[in-house]
């Protein structure tokens, strides 16, 4: 068995053409190993062994003769790193993600926001008029309101 890296956790059996990758579960938990292995199963044969608490052993074998076992090992290692970073980042962003998700789900009930806006907005508050004194300006004084409208339009132009 030839060691492929300085750390000595990757061994390569040249005769049988497979690599043995020893993983410390304290660094890469079992879920990460499953995820990285799952990504690799299209390109290589992956067999898990060892102890999930102490040392996880991953046997990597090539599927096609033209493949390079070192490339497969490197790719597997990169996938492990990818998933580890993703997990750390997703743990950091968990609170923000939950807030965004809550907001998204709440927008499915727009009435919730409409009611909230009505409560907040004083200008749209309904004013009680039990004696019917209030009249709509445009209906009561149509010509004056028309003139005012035209004047406003001219000012804008």
């Amino acid at each position: 068995m030839e060691k492929l890296n300085a750390l000595g956790n990757i061994e390569y059996n040249q005769k049988e053409e497979y690599a043995l990758f020893a993983i410390n579960p304290q660094i890469y938990p079992l879920e990460l190993v499953y995820s990285a292995s799952y990504i690799m199963i299209d390109k290589a044969f992956i067999i898990l062994d060892g102890d999930p608490q102490q040392k996880i052993l991953v046997e990597i074998r090539k599927k096609k003769p033209e493949q390079n076992i070192r490339d497969l090992v490197t790719e597997f290692n990169e996938e492990l790193l990818n998933y580890a970073v993703y997990q750390i980042q997703s743990e950091k962003n968990r609170d923000i993600r939950e807030i965004i998700l809550q907001r998204v789900l709440l927008t499915n009930a727009p009435s919730y926001f409409n009611n909230a806006e009505k409560e907040d907005c004083e200008c749209e508050e309904e004013i009680e008029d039990p004696e019917g004194i209030m009249k709509i300006w445009e209906e009561t004084y149509p010509e004056e309101s028309k003139k005012e409208l035209e004047k406003k339009e001219n000012d804008v132009n």
Binding site: L30, L48, D51
Partner: protein
């Protein structure tokens, strides 16, 4: 781990592969091979119905098991 004889026998580590995933895989591969599964030793014996490379069939079997484990949200 695997032999290239007509009958291929291999073990999968029960700490990594669940019984259910192995049984699901056996079910999926049922058209291709005959299976014997020793549930105590976690030993799987494969005999092909037609001419296949038994060694690679064993590896495909373990890959399939792994995908089932992942799908089940391990």
């Amino acid at each position: 781990m695997m032999s290239t004889e007509q009958i291929c026998t291999f073990k999968l580590n029960p700490k990594f592969y669940s019984k259910n995933s192995i049984l699901t895989t056996i079910n999926a591969f049922n058209d291709l091979c005959f299976f014997e599964f020793d549930q105590e030793k976690f030993e799987i014996k494969i005999k092909t119905k037609e001419e296949y490379d038994l060694r690679y069939l064993g590896y495909e079997f373990s890959n399939y098991c792994l995908s089932i484990m992942k799908q089940n949200g391990v």
